[in-house]
Symmetry: C2
Subunit: 321 residues, 2 copies
Amino acid sequence: MLEKYKEIIDEALLKYLDSLPSYTIYDPIKYMVNLGGKRFRSSLTLLASDLYGGNPNLAIKEAMAVELFHNFTLVHDDIMDQATLRRGQQTVHEKWSTNDAILSGDLLYALVNQILIESQSLNQSIHSVFHKTAIEVCEGQSLDMIFEEKNEVSEEEYLKMIKLKTAVLVACALKMGAMVGGATETDAQFLYNFGINLGIAFQIHDDILDAYPVGEKFGKKIGGDILEKKKTLMFISMLNQLSKKEKIHVNSLYESNDIKDKEIVNQIKVLYDKYGVLDLAIRRKDNYHTEAISNIMQTSLNERSKEVLVMFAENLMNRNY
Amino acid sequence: MLEKYKEIIDEALLKYLDSLPSYTIYDPIKYMVNLGGKRFRSSLTLLASDLYGGNPNLAIKEAMAVELFHNFTLVHDDIMDQATLRRGQQTVHEKWSTNDAILSGDLLYALVNQILIESQSLNQSIHSVFHKTAIEVCEGQSLDMIFEEKNEVSEEEYLKMIKLKTAVLVACALKMGAMVGGATETDAQFLYNFGINLGIAFQIHDDILDAYPVGEKFGKKIGGDILEKKKTLMFISMLNQLSKKEKIHVNSLYESNDIKDKEIVNQIKVLYDKYGVLDLAIRRKDNYHTEAISNIMQTSLNERSKEVLVMFAENLMNRNY
């Protein structure tokens, strides 16, 4: 459904990458952006601009800034997570080096700022939304790192983390597009709230797909989150319900070096089933989804436009990739 | 001479750091900024604003952005250079971790953007100067990293590198201050050029002090550049003049594990003396300095103001720290 916006963005990004200097430090940037992706955040910027102002192209710089900022965070997150693969290909720090990944990431962020300042719709409040969001995304990544080391994370803490790490950028993408399109402040805020709720639902859906994939998955390990002991809603809910004996068993699973990855995932999923954590995650996701729809309904958009946003949210929640 | 501006900046930074959240990811930022420093870049912003508009405080956000951006680059550069000390204290990645240094650096850069957008003198061209500079600083750091691995670096390449890595931020600091103060475009450009020439002279002076320190030095190793085989003007000039036999000797100095650091520095400095590289470096520095003064003379500033800038440049070139 967002296909036409993705095309606009891919074309603009391609043209932009071509315009960059040939210094070697730009190579990792070109590589990373060319790895592709759904461009879903930036498509939302164009969609919102389209719905409010009838012209997606007006918000192209904002959309590019959102997409490239997202890519910047991925380059640095991959270093911090010691990830070797991204979209089935080598991560930047693997293909080049950690130093190159740090510096090309910094450079990419600097380019983002330049793109944003070149926007036709130079508007202090649009830029404020973006820069505040960038700060929050860093805070979210920090919480994510802290939670990895922490034994106990509450559901509330987890939700706060994914709100900052993921949802605020989705919300920012929508709000910037709406503002460029000429939405009222009230409507722009409804779009922002829609993005927050949608982004949280999106992340919970991602977590579910990681443990319960549908069909073949590309470039990702099944149960990767479980193996990383990632404190997702499901993992947290399981931990909270384990008996003493099961807790010891779970700890031994992670401490042992003899147990195969597949076996760890299977055993944890037995406990997931026992404690109904999938149902809980789906319930939470549905709640955020419902909340997101209600945000749309409160806007002053016409019925057709509301329907577009609702359909988009449905599609996102039914994806199996 | 810039003492009064440094005081304004230190006070503003202190107040700003106090206003930041207490999340742990802000701790490295507070630590780094509190390590102090000459605040010379940001003082130049206030000075330029003062000379043109009569009010340094107008440019306080721009000055803070310059100073904090500089700190951001130091945090990431220290990771890349595997530096353990900064201003005689542990570097961020040593005190915390590489991940914390990457992420708190990113966060600091995001904060810089927020500060800049909050400036009263919201002006697209001022921001463009800043973001373009940020890009160039990354390019300069990239060249610096490449030159470390490269056996032959020309004087021209070295000068391009320090221009990007160091001088453009000095130039940007001056130009932004001038623009906020209301300078004409022509004058703002003269100040920019002054900054470029001053910045290059500043870096050459730094290189000289590293090999030929005056008095006691704090937190830095004497001849640190020589030990890192840094391709400074002096090192490049020496390499270009070595006999075949001396080349072999120099290579053996760096390849041996038995020779003490002090001995390496001494032996390289014997060759520095033989080939008069200190004189060459001083000559180059003086040329850039003279060029910088001529940039000032071309501005429309009154004689008193010109004198202030000339005196400032003199002080900077006569410092022994």
